[in-house]
């Protein structure tokens, strides 16, 4: 009984939403995915002021923030940097996120009325949609997925993909595993490997540039198609 009363009097954060780890070249702040954003900020301040003073004083220390699966807004990011900046010796080097670029991008695609299909498109099967299309599954050799807009495949793209069927040359084809038999964008048809080379296991997307089919890592999508 008494124990509970003591707990109520001291409202210190019991759960660790922020784990601070020291590594060879600085500190890692690991944030939990399962709490409110404000709780993380509060715990940071608490740790700076109370428990971790020793660790946080002295020469400047580079800090890597591991965000987990949380996606934060620009304001929240500002807030975070401001909080950390109260300690002059902490220099934020990187904010890392477990969510891949493709997943982030797919989030956006889902918001922009894409048709989402699940399952495998097998040999002989054809899926055509007028809007952007997101397939959760594989396209097998002999199968075709096509769209008047973009084609996104969260899976292996081994068959034929046709984006911008009605002539949109800005359309793209993206896949977690791009090993197609043929790619088509608007009226352009291209096939590996004589026209473009397939490299290691990267998430990739295909786009047209000056009438040529190009393949790039998914990370460059925002740069090459800023409107997407």
């Amino acid at each position: 009984m008494t124990g509970e009363i003591v707990k109520e009097v001291q409202p210190e954060p019991v759960k660790h939403h922020v784990v601070i780890k020291g590594v060879k070249d600085g500190l890692i702040f690991q944030f939990s995915d399962h709490c409110e954003w404000q709780e993380i900020l509060d715990e940071l301040v608490y740790k700076f002021e109370n428990t971790h003073q020793k660790l946080l004083s002295g020469t400047s220390i580079p800090v890597t923030i591991k965000m987990g699966e949380r996606v934060i807004s620009d304001e929240q990011r500002e807030e975070l940097l401001k909080t950390i900046a109260t300690n002059e010796n902490l220099v934020v080097r990187a904010i890392e996120n477990n969510i891949t670029q493709l997943e982030l991008h797919i989030n956006e695609v889902m918001l922009s009325n894409a048709k989402i299909i699940r399952g495998t498109i097998r040999s002989g099967q054809v899926e055509h949609h007028k809007t952007n299309v997101l397939l959760i599954g594989d396209v097998n050799p002999g199968g075709t997925i096509s769209s008047d807009g973009d084609v996104y495949v969260l899976g292996s793209m081994r068959g034929i993909a046709h984006a911008g069927v009605s002539g949109n040359e800005m359309a793209i084809i993206a896949a977690s595993h791009l090993r197609p038999t043929q790619l088509r964008i608007a009226n352009m048809i291209s096939r590996p490997p004589d026209e473009w080379s397939v490299e290691d296991v990267h998430m990739e997307f295909a786009f047209l540039q000056e009438g040529q089919m190009n393949i790039e890592k998914i990370q460059l999508l925002k740069r090459l198609r800023p409107d997407r």
Binding site: T120, R122, N140, P141, G142, S156
Partner: protein, 264 residues
């Protein structure tokens, strides 16, 4: 009430008929009452592989046309109790029967047998539609060749459309040394593309060809690797948990001793 299983592949020559004969026989060896139905009308083979060609009096089309009763057309196997064959007609065509009529026959056979094994013809036309009409589940046979896997993929798609979901896969005629050298598709790769459950793998084995030519299903000769493979498949169909056959051809200690003693 029994279960009707169609053995199909899309591509010809991958071993549908051999697989049907061996799975049917293996299930009968396990004490089940089994009937094998050859739906390859006009190009029947199952009777030859089973060595029952000379016993055919009535066939599937005779039953459909009402020339005989279903029981009269069932040919009893010469080796296994409770194993029967319903042969296809050789003088007719696949278009002479309809899926509905075949389904009626399969449904009737299911009442009196534990398993109805349906041997499907190659292709995706009328013969295929006939064969799958009465099936509860499907086994897709493929070989580790790109063309066969492509066709198997097409078949899986068609089966899904016909509401025969989640077929299982048999990879037939595996040559371990070719896979080892990377000259043949490996089994993981095939499973990856097709995305269906692997029911079993059967190594390429001369005994299977010899057995088929002499009208004896290979599964009867317990010593061969293919026979073990088919028996394992039958046990998995019955719900047993049997590990996959190892493709490594390492002689066991017992075999080496036997060989040393001149017994192997």
């Amino acid at each position: 009430m029994g279960e009707a299983i169609v053995i199909t592949s899309g591509k010809g020559g991958v071993g549908k008929t051999t697989t049907s004969a061996n799975i049917g026989t293996a299930l009968a060896i396990q004490g089940k009452k089994v009937v094998m139905v050859d739906t390859d009308i006009g190009l029947r083979n199952l009777d030859v592989v089973m060595g029952l060609e000379n016993r055919i009096i009535y066939n599937l089309v005779d039953v459909i046309e009402g020339k005989c009763r279903l029981n009269q057309a069932l040919i009893k196997d010469k080796r296994c109790e409770e194993l029967y064959l319903l042969a296809a007609a050789q003088t007719k065509d696949k278009d002479d029967v309809t899926p509905d009529r075949i389904k009626l026959i399969i449904d009737e056979l299911k009442l009196t047998h534990d398993f109805v094994i349906i041997d499907c013809p190659a292709g995706i036309e009328q013969g295929f539609r006939n064969a799958i009409s009465g099936a509860d589940r499907a086994i897709v046979v493929t070989t580790p060749e790109t063309a066969a896997v492509r066709d198997a993929d097409r078949i899986v798609g068609l089966l899904e459309k016909q509401n025969i979901p989640s077929p299982s896969l048999i990879v037939n005629r595996i040559r371990p040394h070719l896979i080892k050298n990377g000259d043949m598709l490996d089994i993981d790769e095939i499973c990856n593309i097709l995305g269906i459950d692997l029911l079993g793998i059967v190594p390429d084995d001369d005994n299977v060809i010899k057995a088929a030519n002499s009208g004896e299903p290979a599964v009867l000769n317990v010593k061969t690797r293919s026979a073990i493979a088919y028996r394992n498949i039958a046990r998995r169909i019955l719900g047993d948990n049997v590990p996959l056959l190892s493709l490594e051809e390492k002689p066991t200690f017992g075999k080496r001793v036997k060989k040393f003693l001149g017994l192997g």
